[in-house]
């Protein structure tokens, strides 16, 4: 690690950007933080450990606002967390058994397909038929409502195909545990495409979930002594500030804009996955 005088300032500013992006897109921010830290000369193990703490900071910072405002659906979050955490445990157990390079390529293909479907869905979220006022929301009681500031009215929603969403989250958790990557990029499309949730609810609920999913990894990295105070302190602070900004933008942003930005972020993640799949 080369500690130049502007090192902490650089990572603080990068972390603010990651926090804004994470809160808006339901991502942990690892997609930005890990390349930034490694570019600054930080060892990859310390970069990943710092990134996991950043995921938790983004999640807690963003979810505190989204839960209060009713954007994050707690029942959907808890229901799907059972799948992601089980999958992550299963994936960690499979580590070394499956060919990782091939998995990166398969993962890139799945994300690319999700990106295409999400792009095709642009604009649909506003015209989607909303469930009746007294819709029961099924046995799992997953239906919800939120006030959409960009539309200036309350919106109701009832998730479709919860079993499919659960299965996809199981897969997302497995991939996350196997490849050691954050699964926000998989969670949002699973909720958006499979469960047909409004994009704002998908990103807000993903924020509620990513801290819980990242918790097990964070505990392991803390135990191993890989979380460095001087590295993680400015990152956690920057990400928390960034998440506070992101949570002010999301409720007012148009769903089509969020979807378009998410597709761009997915394209970056697909590029990273392809690179790792090809180069190993």
């Amino acid at each position: 690690m080369n500690f130049s005088p502007g090192f902490e300032l650089a990572i603080l500013l990068g972390a603010v950007a990651a926090g804004v992006l994470g809160a808006l897109m339901g991502l942990g921010g690892g997609v930005l933080i890990i390349p930034m830290l490694t570019a600054l000369g930080v060892d990859i193990r310390h970069a990943i450990a710092a990134s996991i703490v950043a995921v938790i900071a983004t999640s807690c910072g963003a979810a505190s606002s989204y839960v209060r405002d009713g954007l994050a659906n707690i029942r959907i979050g808890i229901f799907l967390c059972v799948a992601t955490t089980t999958g992550a445990l299963f994936g960690a157990g499979l580590n070394g058994v499956l060919p990782v390079r091939m998995l990166f390529l398969v993962f890139a293909a799945v994300l690319a397909w999700s990106g295409v479907v999400m792009y095709r869905k642009r604009g649909r979220s506003v015209t989607r038929t909303e469930p009746a006022e007294d819709a029961p929301g099924g046995r799992l009681r997953l239906a919800g409502r939120f006030y959409d500031l960009s539309l200036g009215r309350e919106r109701r929603y009832a998730p479709q195909r919860p079993a499919l969403g659960f299965s996809l989250m199981l897969g997302a958790g497995t991939v996350s545990g196997l490849l050691g990557i954050g699964s926000g990029a998989l969670k949002v499309p699973a909720m958006d495409v499979a469960m047909d949730l409004p994009i704002k609810v998908s990103t807000a609920t993903s924020n509620f979930m990513i801290g819980i999913t990242g918790l097990a990894s964070a505990l392991v990295y803390l135990q191993r002594g890989q979380v460095l105070v001087s590295l993680v302190a400015p990152i956690a602070l920057g990400v928390t500030a960034g998440a506070a900004v992101g949570t002010r933008i999301l409720p007012k942003a148009a769903a089509t804009t969020i979807r378009a930005w998410f597709v761009v972020v997915l394209a970056v993640v697909v590029g990273q996955m392809l690179y790792r799949g090809v180069t190993g």
């Binding site: 300032l9 999640s59 505190s64 059972v82 001087s230």
Partner: protein, 128 residues
């Protein structure tokens, strides 16, 4: 009469959900704010004091041991620990509130998540 009761039940259920959301949001906010205060207070020391290689490679565990000396890096480490503990509190608060609401399904699901995370941390961390 029955329809009125159903509407009233749904209104009450929505009100209960809002209370649940408000309490979980409070827990998350308290965790984030207290961590942010500790990190902000300790940042000037991290940036301007002791820029040695040793200080920069101090892990959270090592820094915590310096807490009795009121080392600023120990304060930052406490902030990091509070941050990591916040999702644990988020889950425990959710479980407690589901239990109080007699929502057995979501109490069971929340506790399942807690058990899976604990098992994951023990199994993966145990090997190192």
């Amino acid at each position: 009469m029955s329809a009125t009761r159903t509407v009233e039940e749904r209104r009450l259920r929505r009100e209960e959900s809002r209370q649940l959301e408000a309490r979980i949001a409070t827990v998350l906010r308290a965790g984030v704010l207290s961590a942010a205060v500790l990190l902000t207070v300790s940042m000037p020391w991290i940036v301007f004091q002791d820029r040695s290689h040793r200080a920069h490679h101090l892990s959270v565990g090592e820094a915590l041991r310096r807490l009795p000396e009121l080392d600023p890096r120990a304060l930052a480490a406490v902030g990091v620990v509070i941050l990591v503990a916040t999702p644990i509190l988020q889950l425990l608060t959710s479980a407690f509130l589901f239990w109080r609401k007699h929502d057995r399904l979501y109490l069971a699901l929340t506790l399942s998540v807690c058990v899976i995370i604990a098992a994951g941390a023990l199994l993966t961390g145990g090997g190192h």
